[in-house]
Subunit: 226 residues, 3 copies
């Protein structure tokens, strides 16, 4: 452990954890084996970091031996946060209180994962994105750079709703797209670059680039360049 | 306490807790009096189990003296989970991180309660169901066996929205039904056996069996056997 | 510290915390400097109270030096709750498990903030309101007295979705209004006094008083006095 870390009370740091310089760890936080915190990382209170994937027999198998959680320089996590092993958070990321990020996730530099937001497994989130409060980013999703996901947005990756195993595909949200609050994205839909999805819309098929869609199901409100 | 339990650091286990064989309890977890964990139960870090019902004067009275929380054999709970006394989880149930289950709830064997999902009081959930991430199962709800509740599904049990007390009735979701992500179910609606509700739908009245409904308000898309 | 407080195990109470008489604090809870708990306040387990606002460079600046969290007489907080400094909860408020309340928030006496509900910064909530489970109250919002916000209601305060800074305005929900579950409110909309918004509705513009609106987008179903 670095000499300069500031570690709270009742903190559990397992063997094999690597702490950078000037790390701050809040009270009652648990950091499990295999976690690496970069320089100047700050973690709030009552967090659990580096969880190994588990599940029951009806859930997807994800484990392939012990994996690492790597958190980049200057990244800050709130309180009551959970993050799994097998995931990499870039530099200067912010993760709000009560958020949860699963295994095999990559989050680009400068991105904000909001309070109580959930990011499921096998998902890639680009740089400088904003994933707002209580948004749900499903598994097997691709979010490119500079994307805005509004509060309470919901996604799905399972068009057979449990009836067929292992055919999961989440949305693909291209660079600069903006998704309004409480919108619903169906499995595998592509939201084009720079496109705006209205609040409460239900996106059932791919959209163009730089358009505006809204409604249930979502329809084109404004075409590209108009 | 059994000799073979594996108990983390800073764990609080109150008097009167019963632990089965080969139980695993994560760091900083609190297990309150009246909780019974079956053999091979695993609990993550920073959980609170066996909470006694409380509330303020504007909330429904639910207490009737001290009650037990009973957790069946081989059931696994994630981290940062809360479960109340007066509830029974069957064998081989899985409860994701940040989930919360209130009092007077029964969950059948093999069911998955997803990450950050909420189950309110006086609710029965059958066996081999999947309650996906961040789904909200309201109070006074019946969910039969083999039901799939998609992510972020919302339910209500109070058609007077606080204007009349004690007339609560949640949805009744019959065997094998599947509810798409972010769908909304109104108080007391019945979703028929094997029926599929589209993502983002708002279900305002009972559906048939083995049909497909979608839209706002939800309308019949596909009839039984067609 | 008062002599009569009942404090759990592994509790962290920082210097400068003020505890009223007959306060109860659950196990593993963290109470940070600047927090003042009134008489008979009860706090569950694994909470974090008095968090100082932070964020990264892409987030709104909210800090203006150390601020206080003041919690009124007889108020009860569940377990796994987070509340920020700079906020004031009135007397006999109830805050459910997993809920989160940010800085510069005022909550009136007797109000219920439900399980897993989120209240963002710069928001005012009146007396005797019910904010149901998993509801999302965005920043810069005004909720008057006796309002009912159903489960999973979503709000937004940013009509430019991150494209322009510092022009945030949340909804204004007038006295006695009732919002159905999973409804979506757009930035700056006014919901009139006594008005009912249907479950799953998307409110895109101001409503009258004492009317009923529903649908996507929300339309008038019932006029005042009819």
């Amino acid at each position: 452990m670095t000499e300069k870390a500031k570690v709270g009370r009742n903190v559990v740091i397992e063997e094999g954890v690597v702490l950078g310089n000037h790390v701050v760890i809040g009270d009652n936080t648990v950091i499990l084996s295999g976690t690496e915190l970069g320089d100047e990382v700050e973690v709030g209170a009552n967090c659990v970091l580096g969880i190994q994937p588990g599940g029951n027999k009806r859930m997807r198998k994800t484990g392939e031996g012990t994996r690492k959680l790597v958190i980049g320089k200057g990244t800050k996590l709130g309180s009551l946060v959970s993050v799994y092993a097998g995931t990499k958070l870039g530099d200067h990321v912010f993760v709000g209180d009560h958020a949860s990020i699963r295994e095999a996730v990559t989050v680009g530099a400068g991105t904000v994962i909001g309070r109580s937001a959930i990011v499921e497994l096998n998902t890639t989130i680009g740089a400088n994105c904003t994933i707002q409060t209580s948004a749900y980013v499903t598994g097997d999703t691709i979010i490119e750079d500079n994307v805005f996901i509004g509060p309470c947005v919901s996604m799905s990756n399972d068009k057979y709703m449990g009836a067929k195993a292992y055919e999961m595909k989440g949305p693909h949200i291209e660079s600069g797209a903006k998704i309004g609050n409480n919108a619903t994205l169906l499995p595998g839909v592509r939201v084009g670059a720079g496109t705006i999805v209205g609040a409460g819309a239900v996106v059932t098929k791919d959209t163009g680039n730089h358009v505006v869609v809204a409604g249930v199901p979502a329809r084109l409100l404004k075409e590209e360049g108009k």
